[in-house]
Amino acid sequence: MDTTADLLKTPLHSLHLELGARMMAFAGYDMPVQYPMGVMKEHLHTRAAAGLFDVSHMGQILIRARSGDVTDAARALEAITPVDVLGLKPGRQRYGLFTNDKGGLEDDFMVANRGDHLYLVVNAACKHEDLARIRTALSDSCEIEAQFGRGLIALQGPVAEAVLASYAPDAEDMLFMDVADLKIGGTPVVVSRSGYSGEDGFEISIPADETERVARLLLADDRVEAIGLGARDSLRLEAGLCLYGNDIDETTTPVEANLKWAIQKARRAGGEREGGFPGADVILNQFDTGPARLRVGLQPSGKAPVRAGAELYDSESGGAAIGTVTSGGFGPSVGGPVAMGYVPADLSAAGTTLYAEVRGKRLELAVSALPFVQTTYKR
């Protein structure tokens, strides 16, 4: 493991320490895993009021077409992602995927059309590779600016809108996946109505030297608590959202990962801009034939959490493993264990009984629809 001295710090590092966070190494950063409130209460607070998450370790990347026309940047980005970027209207954001020649996933990300440029948020552990991938593919036609030192916070939960609107009234007019320039306490910020908790909420990009001041302003509201990576993980698992490196990686395709919705009609077979991304032949063929395996929700019937790595079986004893759990733990809002994993497509129907091997015992679980909790996005 990295020693603390080798770890990078986000602009909120000293605030985390001041708030009494327990810190851990995550993607090369010294990050808060939980605050004194504890993971369980942090999770439930986010679902009941609002949680503030430091996600500054993620990578922010701006792409500007040399022509000055954002559609040229969108067209260029479509060469390395199966997502319809050209159809993304100014002020809108969508979920994206980088694929490889085998149809596997190199990363997932968010992409926004900011009118005169594209704005991407990519995973912390993949950001340098993503930057290199984008530079290689787009440098001929675009200027690429990495903003890896910039602050990024997420404000999530049912009162997130009210809290943010008390500083930036225009936040009330934003719908799910809208992106806008707002000001918080005089600081210009870029706000998207999105997040990874399953709750309504916002991600707020802030100049590094203003991040702590803005975070303190939001935390000054009694309804907002600082939330660590522990609760972030249980919230996203309950929301059925993929964690790159666990639920999706370079060996899983978007179709297997149940992310077909992220590939819009324009890029599918028969669409206006069919294919033209890495692994298109594999992925579009899977749309036709169906994948051999599929990511599904898994709900253990007992109380024992079933963690990532547990092997799945179709019978209570004997037989070979038929799949693997990729994320699993306790869902505080569900009040019991929840998991996700890959199973053969013919065993992927909701309600199918499977077994996971935990400490030498086979525990019964049921294939479950995702998400485990109702999402509350403002559409």
């Binding site: 993971v39 993980d233 249980s234 306790f330």
Partner: protein, 120 residues
């Protein structure tokens, strides 16, 4: 008087039976417990054997048998409500009662002063 192990278990010894739990320090480090698996009465363990499993929201951890012995009772209350371990680790949050094979082995365990010094 309570005895302590380096693995953060406590023992309250009465005659040749020890009531065993995890320390407040261990409970705090583990965070909110959501699942506890306890050994069956009648099962026997050697010192250091994996007698129990606890799971927090994030991770699973083993609880070791502090000395050689036979389980005579497990605390169903913490199976029903694992948060008892967090709220009352040395009281209602006890794990199991262990009939010691060699009660004198307990003499080698730490007392509270030594344990507090170890965890700093």
């Amino acid at each position: 008087m309570l005895k302590f192990t380096e693995d953060h278990e406590w023992l309250k010894i009465e005659g040749d039976v020890a009531t065993v739990g995890i320390t407040a320090h261990a409970a705090e480090q583990l965070g909110d417990l959501v699942f506890v698996e306890l050994p069956d009465a009648g099962s026997t363990f050697e010192k250091g054997g994996e007698a129990s499993t606890v799971e927090s929201v994030k991770a699973a951890s083993d609880v070791y048998c502090p000395l050689d012995g036979e389980i005579v009772e497990s605390n169903q209350a913490i199976v029903d409500d694992p948060s008892l371990v967090n709220s009352d680790p040395t009281g209602a949050g006890w794990f199991f009662k262990l009939k010691l094979s060699n009660p004198s082995d307990a003499d080698a365990l730490m007392d509270e002063t030594a344990y507090q010094a170890m965890i700093g």
